[in-house]
């Protein structure tokens, strides 16, 4: 009995793993962290991909087959996963992954093999740098700076901005430079740029200097650890300007640590939240279908990015009229105005997504999604 069962398992595994060379299907590989430290995000992204696959299971009259490999939140596993997808499963396009370092490890392999890879939530600028076949559906970190600037000028009508930047942190410096460029380009004035270093706890001197320049808004692209005490000190010094930050400030602890000082604080984030007010039809449909399929949990931005990554590949195959890897890459690079769950996406010359940026405000001690904005670069 036991032997029979084993035999059945072996046969089943072989049956699945045997590469079918038939050209009547489109083969898409997925590598995500389904175990390990990033499993939470990876699992949601996979569910997003699978949902998209259930909705659109055919392209150019051929069935789409998904091949899923766990990269175990490990760089070596990520490279192996991509190798396996390409060599063994003969995939024509790859979706993955959560985690920039994983995407970089896997991306090297995909780039060499000339198979297009679409990243889900890997936001480090280096992931796509200098790569011909590597793309992503999320924006790069610094892009949010432009989103904050656009929101400050267009929606809030602010004219004068100040920045407080962590010079020892790439993320902070990147967001600040995008903010500055966008704010000035749209006619705003940057009245003060003050620096500090990660780990500092006293910001009174910098804040005092900023207060004396009377800005309408202060942009702090800092990490959560510094951000909350910057806001506390600003309040104690009597600052009246609004404060904005990036998604590194997106942490549930912010209210308990910042207390009343973080009330009214705004930060940018990815442009999807099940509670967002201005959902496009794609996002609405996604949210409804998700709730039908997973009544026990809310969709989140990872699931949405997984969904969009699959759909953008299908869109590229349609436009290319072919599922050859090189043609998919060319079509992906040409993506303009693709409507997904996370808004209207255009792939730019660095293969990163330009798309709306979400804005969250802390209101009555709670995070509230107020809307999305198309950043002016």
């Amino acid at each position: 009995m036991k032997r029979c069962f084993l035999l059945a398992v072996v046969l089943a595994v072989f049956g699945m793993a045997a590469p079918s060379f038939a050209a009547d299907t489109v083969r898409i590989g997925v590598y995500l962290p389904l175990t390990g430290q990033n499993a939470f995000g990876g699992q949601l992204e996979l569910e997003g991909v699978q949902m998209a696959h259930e909705e659109v299971g055919e392209v150019l009259g051929k069935k789409v087959e998904l091949f899923v490999v766990d990269n175990k939140s490990d760089k070596v596993e990520a490279a192996n996963a991509v190798k396996r997808l390409i060599d063994k499963e003969n995939v024509q396009a790859i979706i993955g992954t959560y985690g920039s370092s994983l995407a970089m490890a896997g991306g090297e392999v995909a780039e060499k093999a000339g198979v297009p890879q679409v990243g889900t939530s890997c936001t480090n600028p280096l992931v796509t740098q200098g790569k011909k076949h590597i793309f992503r559906v999320c924006f790069i970190d610094p892009f949010q700076g432009a989103g904050a600037a656009t929101y400050a000028i267009k929606d809030l009508g602010f004219k004068k901005a100040a920045l407080l930047v962590d010079v020892a942190n790439d993320y902070s410096v990147g967001l600040a430079s995008f903010f500055k460029r966008s704010f000035v380009k749209q006619g705003g004035e940057v009245v003060a740029v003050l620096n500090y270093q990660s780990g500092d706890q006293d910001f009174t001197a910098q804040l005092q200097q900023i207060i004396s320049k009377k800005p309408d808004v202060l942009f702090i692209p800092s990490y959560f650890a510094e951000g909350a005490i910057i806001m506390k000190q600003a309040k104690e010094l009597g600052a009246t300007f609004k404060i904005m930050g990036g998604d590194a400030m997106d942490n549930p602890e912010i209210v308990s640590i910042g207390g009343s000082a973080v009330e009214g604080f705004m930060h940018t984030t990815f442009p999807y939240d099940p509670s967002m007010p201005d959902m496009n039809p794609v996002a609405q449909k996604f949210t409804e279908n998700w709730k039908k399929k997973h009544p026990d949990k809310d969709p989140n931005v990872n699931a949405a990015l997984g969904y969009d990554a699959y759909m953008i590949i299908i869109d590229a195959i349609k436009r290319a009229g072919s599922a050859e890897p090189a043609k998919i890459s060319a079509a992906l690079a040409d993506t303009k105005g693709f409507v997904g769950v996370t808004g209207v996406t255009t792939i730019n010359e660095t293969h990163d997504a330009e798309k709306p940026v979400g804005i969250v405000v802390i209101k009555d001690g709670k995070k509230t999604y107020v809307g999305s904005i198309q950043p002016e670069l």
Binding site: L194, Q197, G199, D202, I211, S212, L237, G238
Partner: protein
């Protein structure tokens, strides 16, 4: 720069400087007596702030009681550290104790990361400390007035203990010659334990004050203030208690005023502090008030 803004900068400098002074007193006291730079001081400082947090949130102690309990508990930790990490090395070369101190510092830091988690935590502050008073266009936090007074009181109290009490006499004897003191009947180990207890209580007090001013707890919160206070102690003349207070205040004012007058250099604030340390060590290694190191025969 208007006069109000300048005054506000000065006040900010005073708060920061007196906090540095408070930490530096602890460094300098232990050094003055044992010639040991207790690098674990910054972690003892961190423990002080965390212990108050626990007292208030876990044991629901009233805040003043939590303060006292935290200072006492941290003093015990200090004595324990001495017993485990320094006392066995009493006869070893001085560098061994210094290395042991660095080890204790890393050990406590990592224990804190594992036990307390790296996520920043909030600090309980009584309401009367939260709201600044406005005096002639300048915003004065109650803490701004409180911390310098506390530093001064602790300085005077310590000087009293060291110069006018029997254990103080023992401390001074040990600082001159540890072996002869033992021969003369000074209970060396108890006096040194007392020194560490006092030094740690001071670290706890400064950690608590720091957390009230910069209300966020992190396992690594002691590192930067610890370095700065060390610089302040060296600048003032390590071993000298009034020197530590002056060094702390000068460093606090310098850091704030550099940013006030040269905003573009704000990112180099920490670098200035370390440059100051190097310059002091090159030009006047004994610091402002430090005694000339006696040659031991």
């Amino acid at each position: 720069m208007t006069i109000e803004i300048f005054l506000q900068h000065l006040l900010n400098g005073l708060t920061l400087g007196s906090l540095y002074a408070l930490i530096a007193i602890g460094y300098t006291m232990v050094y003055g007596i044992l010639r040991l730079i207790n690098f674990a001081h910054s972690e003892i400082f961190m423990l002080g702030a965390y212990f108050v947090f626990w007292g208030v949130t876990l044991f629901h102690l009233p805040w003043p009681l939590a303060l006292v309990a935290a200072v006492a508990a941290v003093a015990l930790v200090g004595v324990l550290v001495d017993r485990v990490a320094y006392r066995p090395l009493r006869d070893a070369p001085r560098i061994s104790a210094l290395i042991s101190a660095i080890g204790v510092s890393f050990f406590l830091q990592n224990v804190a990361i594992v036990l307390f988690k790296a996520i920043p935590r909030e600090v309980y502050r009584p309401e009367w400390l939260e709201n600044p008073m406005i005096m002639g266009g300048v915003r004065v936090l109650p803490l701004t007035l409180f911390v310098p007074v506390l530093s001064l009181l602790l300085m005077l109290g310590l000087m009293y203990i060291v110069y006018h009490t029997k254990p103080g006499l023992g401390m001074r004897a040990i600082s001159k010659d540890i072996e002869t003191s033992a021969l003369m009947g000074v209970p060396v180990n108890s006096i040194i334990a007392l020194t560490f207890g006092l030094g740690s209580a001071l670290a706890a007090a400064s950690g608590i004050m720091w957390a009230l001013r910069y209300p966020q707890l992190q396992p690594i919160m002691g590192v930067i203030p610890g370095f700065k206070a060390f610089i302040a102690a060296v600048f003032g003349g390590i071993g000298s208690i009034p020197g530590a207070v002056i060094g702390g205040l000068v460093l606090g004012f310098l850091e704030i005023l550099i940013v006030a007058f040269f905003p573009d250099l704000a990112g180099y604030r920490d670098a200035f502090a370390f440059v100051l340390l190097i310059v002091v060590l090159l030009v006047k290694p004994t610091g402002l008030l430090g005694a000339r190191p006696e040659e031991k025969v």
